[in-house]
Structures are given as structure tokens and as C-alpha cells.
């Protein structure tokens, strides 16, 4: 009873402090310029040399400033300078290092030199690493230190070109795992040897701080305080996209030295946990079990809101903040939400400013019109919630193993079998049933918005679709059956052996939740009389099977690193076969003509000639059908009416710096939506008292009777 009274008094006190009872945030934060959002999985890495996942880039893209970034408003996605003062100047050289003209034949280009000038005056976030006294710390000095906020003194300094060069060297640091180290070693001149030299140095002096500046990297040259050059082998236009990723952010050597001190690691103080950036925000609170907070970098003043966008952006209010210094919000609070139900309910209460939509809440949030257009439901409209959608630069596909004797390879029989299956498996239906319509059936590996993608009749996969009434129409099951018969499996039975054709699908989706999807897939195969055998396995065994080329069919997906067709078509490039070369071509697909065209296309600038080559490559792929092309997912994001400057941008991970919150409106609406209902509390109290009174009376009567 005492505990109950205490609880009640606390709740009453909470009511008196002006805060809402169900407000999950401190009362002191009320009315402040804070954006509230959530994350469901803690980031594994925050070191820009190691991080590579979307959930890590969500933070890093706001903390670090690589030379380039994607324009927030313009489409198709376009690179613009971020830390660089202008786009890099690219010079082509022949093998004798003589300068070649800009339009030189790619075959003659032995080297490309990227000269990058960074903006002067950019400064790092406040950090103890910039205070010299913090370099001679004894483990005993760290007694009360559990986070960066426990250091009394912090400092900053100007970002220099040398910091960018230093970070590139870190990509092959022997103690770090950089996912792109192998790719970059292929391109950046001297990087492969540099990695070997660093490994030898680390072996020679184990445990010592490895000073990368003592070892020059030939492909990276610091020209002056604000200029550096990167020399890469051959012509590789996609290199510019890498320059927009955190891998190429500046890294002050002081930060590495600071964290290398004894006692730091034991306190989880490392560059992988506490980044040191020069971007619009810095990580001021890092409790990934609960919340992570980004606070405006007080020294960030090098960027303004873009002044131009697409037609219609101005009318949509997206240029209202043009020219204003970024970021527009002071603080971003990311709260850990592992479960979708609390996350969704908190969004509806106004405690998250924007939200994705889980399948559970889709019907509550979205209604799809007869024409297939998605809109928010009436309930959402009443709350002033709006919806933004964008097709992701991703693809989910089902691959056939090219090494498989039945379904793989270049024979006409196998090709027709794959084409028949491609017609039978209706991905429009899949998207409608399992993704609530959030996706479009793919015509090739290239999603919309990427150069090489063609819309309309020209862009359809004519082996699976016909063009009818201005839209692609999947060919009939009869057509699939005809192809199957031509492949030697009339009615799904092998004409030679008279045995039914069984295709095996390897998947990690074995749980109850996935049963309906697998049943659906079986039904699709059943349409043409082919039996589908699902071999569910754990993730490790699945990966192992792929590596050994021991599958027949498998599910997979790819999320683009950068918006270029090369980043999708390389997934089917023969020399990158997984089984023989350990590459990303999990289907082990090999077609000499496709491979030749890929080599030709990958180093070209976007042009009609490149489009023509891509058209030919896609035609080869559609005919060979090494994948069921699956679908490209659509991202749906709901946002409250107080959020401004929202435009979906799949490539930009730093979009939160453009967002603005109308704090007053949010406060007012939150208050009107979340007033506590005290009636049930009084009722519960009265019921309890009544019950206690009744018991007391009964006991009294009983005692009196005795």
C-alpha cells in the first residue's frame, strides 16, 4: 500500500512539474530544438575506416565530413562538394605519366589523379584529443572517466589536407578491418605494398603505436595545407562516389594517439566508439543500449541549405530555408527501440518525429487507392501525418547457381527452364501480399533512379513481360509451360527420366514467420508443375554453401554503395564469381560477352554510348535469366506536421542536417494528444479501498461469530 501511495504521489508530482506523464524525455528538454528518432540495432563500428552498414552510416554521415556528398534535393542523385571547396579536378595520365586529354581513350589512361581542395577554416568537434595535456595520461588519471564528457578540457583545431591523407592510409591499417581495403588496394597506387609494409612494421614493434605518417603512400600526396591528391590506376569514374563515403573523411592523428593510451580500451574509449569528426554534429552521448545523442558541432559553419532543387521543390516549401547555415536542428536523440509496437505508439503520441511503417501497422497508416497510389489513412490525416515514398537503390532477388547441372549454365535447356520459372513466379503478387505493395517488380538488376534504368516499354524484360495497355503484363502460365516443355520438362516431368523436376531453394528463412512466403513460392512453382524443395539452414551454413557453389537457388539482396549501374552489374560479372574467386557474384554467372561489355562499361562516364552498352548487357541478362529479378523495395516514411524540409533521399545518409522542427507546434500537439486520463486511477483506488473494507468487515464478522 505504501508503494502504491508513493507511486501515486510521484505521478501527482510529475503532473505538477509541467511535463506530460507519458513523456519519455526529460522535462528540461521540453521546447528545445531536438529531433527525436529511433534505432533498432546498435552500430557495431563508428570508426569511419571500419563502418559499412546503413545503421552505422546514419550516425557517421552526420559526424564526419568526407570531401563530397549527394545533393539533397536534385534528382537523379548528384555529387556535390561537402568538405571540398569544389568538385575534384581529375587529370588523366598515360603510363609515362604524361597528361592526357579529358576525352582520352580509357585504354590509354594509366592513372587518374584526383586533386581535392578542402574548404579552409573547417574545425573539428570539441574533443579531449586536441588538448596536449591529455596525451600523457596515466591509467590512474582515468579513474573517474567513463566517457568523453568526463574529460574536463577539450579543444579543436582546423581540418587539414593531411588529415584526409591520414585516413586513406588507415584503410589498410593492420589492426583495422576496412571492408573496402581490397577494392581500394586495386585502385590507389601503391596501397597494396603499403599494407604489406605496415603489417611488417606492426610485427616488428608489436604493441607500439603505429605512426602511419612515417610510411609514405605513393598514391596519396599532400600538396599543401588544404590540398591533396589521390592517384589511382586507370580510369575509374566511380571513385568520386567513394569520396562521398565516411571512408574518406578526415582523421586527426591526435585522435588515434589519444585513444592508444593505456587504460582507454578498458573504458571503451576508442575511435570505434567515440568518433572525432568535423561534421555538423558530434556524438555527445553514447549509450547504444538506450540512446545515442548527436549535438550540433559548435565549430561547424561551412555549409548552407541548398538554394536550388527540382521543379516543384520550391512550391513544396523545400527551399524555404535556402541559404540558412546547417544544421537546422541543435540535437538529435536516437532511442533504442527493439520492438515495433512501442515505437509505433510513441510516434503516434508525437514522441518520435518520423517513422517507418512496419507490416503490423501498415493498414492503420496507409490506404492504397484503386490506381495503386499510397496515401495516409484518415486517422493519420487527422493527426496531420504525411507520407513520403521513394524506391530504394536496392534489389531483392532469387539467384540460380550457374554451376548447377540442372538449372545453371549456358545450355538452351537450362535457359528455357529459368525463363519458365521467371514467368511463373509472380513478383507483383509477392510485393502486394508480403510487402503491402511497397516495391516494384524488377525488370533487371538496375533499380529506378540509377543510370541505365529505362522506364516504359523499352525497359521491360521481354522474356517475362509483354507490353499491354501502357504497362508491363506478365506472360501467361501457358507460355511458361511451353518453355518448360521445350526445356525437356513437359508438365514439370523430366522427359528423359520420367521423374518430376525438383528444384532446391537454400534459404535462411525457416521460421514460422517465413512459412507463408515459402508456401507462396511453392505455389508459384506448382503453377508449372515443378516441385520446390526448401532447404532451410542457418546463416553460416547458407554462406558456406554459397561460397562452395553448392546451391541451386537462393535468396539474396543488394543495397547500392553508390548510384551507378556498375555497382549492380558487377554482381553478375564472371571474374567476381563467389565459388571460384570469392567475389560478390553469388550465382557464379559467366557470360564472356557480358563480362567484356562490363569491362568496357564500368570505366565510362554516363553517356548515350554507355547506355547502349548497358542496354545490351541487360538484354543478355534477361535472356540468360541467372536471377529471378525479384523486386526493388519502396521506402515509406511517415512524418508529423511539425517536421520541415523532408524529401526522400536514398543515397544521402546525412539528410537530418537539412530537417527542421517547428518546436512550438510539436509541444502544443503533444500536449493535446497526451493529457493523462485520471479516471481509471481514482476508480482503481476506490475499488481497492472497497475490497479492503469488505475484507475487513468479513473478518470482523467472523471473529465476532467465534
Amino acid at each position: 500500500m505504501k508503494a502504491l501511495l508513493a507511486a501515486l504521489s510521484f505521478l501527482l508530482l510529475a503532473a505538477c512539474d509541467g511535463g506530460l506523464w507519458n513523456d519519455p524525455y526529460p522535462v528540461a528538454d521540453g521546447g528545445k530544438d531536438i529531433l527525436y528518432t529511433a534505432f533498432s540495432e546498435r552500430p557495431k563500428h563508428l570508426d569511419p575506416a571500419q563502418a559499412y552498414s546503413e545503421n552505422e552510416y546514419e550516425f557517421l554521415a552526420l559526424i564526419y565530413s568526407p570531401p563530397l556528398q549527394y545533393h539533397y534535393l536534385k534528382r537523379p542523385y548528384q555529387l556535390v562538394p561537402l568538405a571540398a571547396s569544389a568538385m575534384p579536378r581529375v587529370t588523366f595520365l598515360d603510363r609515362n605519366r604524361r597528361v592526357l586529354p579529358e576525352k582520352a581513350d580509357p585504354a590509354r589512361i594509366a592513372y587518374s589523379v584526383y586533386e581535392i581542395h578542402i574548404k579552409p577554416g573547417m574545425r573539428y568537434q570539441p574533443h579531449p584529443a586536441f588538448v596536449s595535456a591529455n596525451y600523457m595520461l596515466d591509467p590512474a588519471d582515468l579513474g573517474g572517466v567513463y566517457g568523453l564528457n568526463d574529460f574536463v578540457r577539450t579543444g579543436t583545431r582546423e581540418v587539414t589536407a593531411a588529415d584526409y591523407a591520414y585516413q586513406i592510409k588507415r584503410l589498410v591499417h593492420p589492426q583495422l578491418h576496412t571492408p573496402i581495403a581490397a577494392v581500394m588496394s586495386e585502385y590507389i597506387v601503391g596501397m597494396k605494398d603499403y599494407a604489406v609494409r605496415l603489417q611488417a612494421a606492426a610485427r616488428e614493434h608489436p604493441g607500439d603505436f603505429l605512426d602511419l605518417n612515417r610510411y609514405p603512400l605513393p598514391g596519396v600526396e599532400v600538396v599543401d595545407g588544404m590540398t591533396y591528391r589521390i592517384t589511382i590506376h586507370g580510369k575509374y569514374p566511380q571513385f568520386a562516389y567513394w569520396l562521398a563515403m565516411p571512408f574518406f573523411s578526415p582523421m586527426p592523428q591526435e585522435a588515434e594517439r589519444f585513444y592508444a593510451q593505456p587504460g582507454m580500451r578498458e573504458r571503451n574509449l576508442s575511435l570505434d566508439w567515440w568518433p572525432v569528426g568535423s561534421g555538423p554534429y558530434y556524438l555527445s552521448e553514447n549509450e547504444p543500449n538506450r540512446r545515442m545523442v548527436l549535438t550540433r558541432n559548435p565549430f561547424y559553419d561551412s555549409e548552407n541549405y541548398p538554394g536550388e532543387g527540382q521543379p516543384g521543390d520550391a512550391q513544396a516549401g523545400l527551399l524555404a530555408d535556402a541559404g540558412k547555415p546547417l544544421p537546422l536542428i541543435d540535437r538529435i536523440v536516437f532511442s533504442l527501440e527493439k520492438e515495433t509496437i512501442p515505437y509505433w505508439n510513441k510516434f503516434l503520441q508525437g514522441y518520435y518525429d518520423a517513422s517507418g511503417i512496419s507490416s503490423d501497422s501498415f493498414d492503420q497508416a496507409v490506404q492504397v487507392s484503386v490506381s495503386g497510389e499510397a496515401n495516409v489513412s484518415d486517422a493519420m490525416k487527422t493527426q496531420g501525418i504525411t507520407l513520403s515514398t521513394a524506391v530504394a537503390t536496392s534489389t531483392f532477388y532469387t539467384g540460380f547457381n550457374w554451376l548447377d547441372a540442372t538449372i545453371g549454365g549456358n545450355s538452351e535447356r537450362a535457359r528455357k527452364l529459368r525463363q519458365a520459372i521467371a514467368i511463373a513466379v509472380d513478383f507483383e503478387e509477392f510485393v502486394s501480399i508480403f510487402a503491402n505493395g511497397r516495391g516494384i517488380a524488377a525488370q533487371s538488376p538496375i533499380p529506378p533512379g540509377i543510370f541505365g534504368y529505362r522506364d516504359g516499354k523499352e525497359g521491360i524484360n521481354r522474356y517475362v513481360y509483354d507490353w499491354a495497355d501502357g504497362a508491363p503484363k506478365r506472360k501467361s502460365v501457358a507460355e511458361a509451360q511451353r518453355l518448360l516443355a521445350e526445356a525437356g520438362y513437359p508438365g514439370g516431368v523430366d522427359a528423359g527420366t520420367k521423374q518430376p523436376l525438383v528444384i532446391h531453394l537454400d534459404t535462411t528463412s525457416g521460421g514460422v514467420g517465413n512459412k507463408s512466403r515459402l508456401d507462396w513460392l511453392r505455389k508459384q512453382f506448382d503453377k508449372i508443375g515443378v516441385q520446390l524443395d526448401v532447404r532451410s539452414t542457418d546463416y553460416n551454413r547458407f554462406q558456406d554453401k554459397l561460397r562452395r557453389g553448392d546451391t541451386q537457388m537462393y535468396y539474396f539482396g543488394w543495397n547500392a554503395d553508390y548510384p551507378d549501374p556498375e555497382n549492380f552489374l558487377f554482381l553478375l560479372h564472371g571474374p567476381q564469381a563467389k565459388a571460384s574467386k570469392g567475389g560478390e557474384n553469388a550465382s557464379n554467372y559467366a557470360n564472356p560477352e557480358f563480362d567484356r561489355l562490363f569491362e568496357q562499361m564500368k570505366n565510362m562516364d554516363n553517356s548515350p554510348a554507355r547506355q547502349a552498352i548497358i542496354d545490351r548487357m541487360l538484354e543478355i541478362l534477361r535472356r540468360d535469366s541467372p536471377w529471378l529479378w525479384g523486386f526493388h523495395p519502396k521506402n515509406y516514411v511517415l512524418q508529423h506536421q511539425w517536421l520541415r524540409n523532408i524529401k526522400p533521399n536514398i543515397m544521402a545518409n546525412n539528410k537530418l542536417k537539412y530537417w527542421r522542427v517547428d518546436v512550438g507546434q510539436r509541444e502544443q500537439l503533444r500536449r493535446s494528444w497526451n493529457q493523462p486520463e485520471l479516471g481509471p486511477l481514482w476508480l482503481a483506488g476506490a475499488a481497492l479501498l472497497l475490497f479492503a473494507g469488505g475484507i475487513w468487515l468479513m473478518l470482523r464478522r467472523r471473529e465476532e461469530a467465534r
Binding site: W21, E266, N540
Partner: protein, 325 residues
């Protein structure tokens, strides 16, 4: 008693070695160090060299149990098993596979777990025992029947329903507490009150019925008849005599779980966003982080053993006839 305790603690050592060995064997039957490396390094652009480097840096490039490449004691000590297990006996849990200090993580997560588990346990115990005594007091009456029916009803409902239903009604409809989240210090109250109430409500059915059975067994004994014959009130009989004598079976089930309260609750913490230890082990299993798994299994075993010893000790407190020898 001291000798008994020392003996029990010494017994614990082979048990802990066994638990360690079993955890190690089970983990590495399912996962190889290569699998662990791949899980940590992700799917995209992972090279065999990166996998080797990862294993080497974390000591997973060594043999599991016996290193035949070296001589002497190194044969046993220069192995994954030894290097990952020996230090735990001095409670040095080392680092997780993603490089964080496990000891620090456990220390940090223990508080929020306890903030939920301890009040749930204590208040719950009081509520369950009181409710059971009440049913015993009014045994064989309509009130008792209604109580038992209520218990059966509450037992039949899934724990998840209490959580989702509680969040829906108390947080979403009535706006009385936040749906999920956590804050340190006094601010934690509004976040923990609902999980605690739900935790208590979820246990009322089974626990109260169990205690009711114990009390009913006690109430038929001779000393109770004697107490009544002395003219003591029914309340006094129950709370002074029956409760005291029922303590042994109650303590058997209760004391053993006290140390395990540190380990938290997976479901509650996950749904309420409590940054406790409940999800630490599960997250580690999903991430194939052996360092965390073995640390948490080891800690769980130690706490369980401590709980059993405490149970034995508690017998001597409530029953002077019990001697630990």
C-alpha cells in the same frame, strides 16, 4: 557452517569448469571461428584475408583444446579454450568480439535490470503471499473459489499479452506513463512502474496458487489447532504461525532466484526499452559473440550457485533445527 560454505564453494569450481567446457563445446559445434568472423565483418566485400586477420587479432586462429604445434604446458594453454576461459575464474571477462569491455558492459546494464527485477520480486512476493494468505483465510468460501479462478485465468494468459495490453491501456489510452524508455536516477520511476506492475500481475496466478497450497498444508497441522485453541485470532494464526512455518518451502523457491535478478528479463527489457542485461546474452548469441556468451553463462552459473548456498543458509535462519555441517 564456515566449513560447509567453504566446501560448497570448492564444489562450485568443478561445476563451473564443467559449465564452461559444455558452453565452449556447444558453441563451437554450431559455429566455427570463420563463421564468427563473417558474422562480425558483415556480408559485403569480406575477403578471406580479412577473416584470417579478424581471427588472429582475437585469438581465434588457435586450436580449440590442444595445440600440438607447441610443447609443454603451452599445448593446453595456447588454445582458444584456455585463453577464453581461464581468466573468467578471476572475473576478468575480457572484451566482446566487437572490442568492448564485457565487465564494464555488465556493470552498466546490471543497474537497470535490478531497477525492474528487484521491486518486481519484493513487491511481488508480498502481494503473492498476502493474496495466498487471504485465500487461505477464506478457504472453501466463494471468495477463495473466486481467487483460485482468478489465478487460473491469470496463469493462462501469455506474458506478452500483459506487456502489450499494459502498454496499450496504461500508456497509450490513459497516457499515465511512457510506453517505453529509461532514464537514470529518480527519473527512472516513471519508466519502471509499468514493467514492475506488469511483472507482478504476470506472476500473481502461479505464485499465489503455489503459496496457497503451502499454506493450506500448514493450516491443517496440530500446532495451528493448538494456536486456535489458545484463542488466537485467525489473522494472528496465519501471519504469526502459519507464515513462519511455511517459510522453508517458500525460501526454497525464492532465495535461489535472488542473485539471478541481476540477469534481467529479456521480454520485459526488450519491450520497455530497458537497457539491462536481459537482452545481452540473446544479442550475443545472435551475433555469435562467444566472448559475451561464455561470460554471461559463467556469470549465470556463479549466481545460481550463490543462490543455492544462500538458500541453505536461509534455512538456518528460519528454522533453528537446521544445522549446516
Amino acid at each position: 557452517m564456515i566449513a560447509y560454505l567453504i566446501r560448497r564453494i570448492l564444489y562450485a569450481v568443478p561445476i563451473l569448469i564443467g559449465v564452461n567446457l559444455l558452453t565452449f563445446a556447444l558453441f563451437f559445434v554450431v559455429n566455427t571461428p570463420d563463421d564468427m568472423a563473417r558474422m562480425q565483418l558483415g556480408i559485403k566485400r569480406v575477403t578471406p584475408e580479412a577473416i584470417e586477420k579478424w581471427k588472429q587479432q582475437r585469438g581465434y586462429d588457435k586450436p580449440l583444446f590442444v595445440n600440438s604445434a607447441v610443447g609443454g604446458t603451452d599445448k593446453l594453454t595456447d588454445t582458444i579454450f584456455w585463453q577464453k576461459s581461464a581468466s573468467m575464474f578471476v572475473f576478468d571477462f575480457g572484451y566482446s568480439d566487437d572490442g568492448r569491455s564485457i565487465g564494464r558492459e555488465i556493470a552498466k546494464r546490471m543497474g537497470p535490470s535490478l531497477a525492474i527485477a528487484l521491486p518486481t520480486f519484493l513487491i511481488g512476493l508480498i502481494v503473492y503471499v498476502s493474496f495466498a494468505l487471504l485465500m487461505t483465510l477464506f478457504r472453501a468460501t466463494a471468495l477463495d473459489m473466486a481467487g483460485v479462478a482468478l489465478c487460473v485465468l491469470l496463469m493462462s494468459i501469455s506474458g506478452l499479452f500483459y506487456i502489450i495490453g499494459g502498454q496499450f491501456v496504461v500508456s497509450k489510452l490513459w497516457h499515465l506513463v511512457p510506453i517505453s524508455g529509461y532514464a537514470g536516477g529518480a527519473d527512472s520511476f516513471k519508466f519502471v512502474v509499468l514493467p514492475i506492475l506488469i511483472g507482478i500481475a504476470g506472476g500473481v496466478g502461479s505464485s499465489s496458487r503455489w503459496y496457497r497450497t503451502i499454506f493450506l498444508e500448514e493450516i491443517g497441522k496440530d500446532y495451528v489447532r493448538t494456536a486456535r485453541a489458545k484463542g488466537l485470532s485467525e489473522l494472528r494464526v496465519l501471519f504469526t504461525h502459519v507464515l513462519k512455518n511455511a517459510m522453508i518451502p517458500i525460501l526454497t523457491g525464492v532465495v535461489v532466484v535472488i542473485p539471478l535478478l541481476f540477469m534481467g528479463s529479456l521480454l520485459t527489457e526488450s519491450f520497455f526499452g530497458i537497457p539491462g542485461l536481459g537482452s545481452y546474452t540473446i544479442d550475443a548469441i545472435n551475433a555469435q559473440d562467444f566472448s559475451v556468451v561464455r561470460a554471461m553463462v559463467f556469470l549465470g552459473s556463479v549466481l545460481y550457485i550463490v543462490g543455492l548456498i544462500l538458500t541453505d543458509v536461509s534455512y538456518t535462519v528460519v528454522d533453528p533445527r537446521v544445522r549446516l555441517q
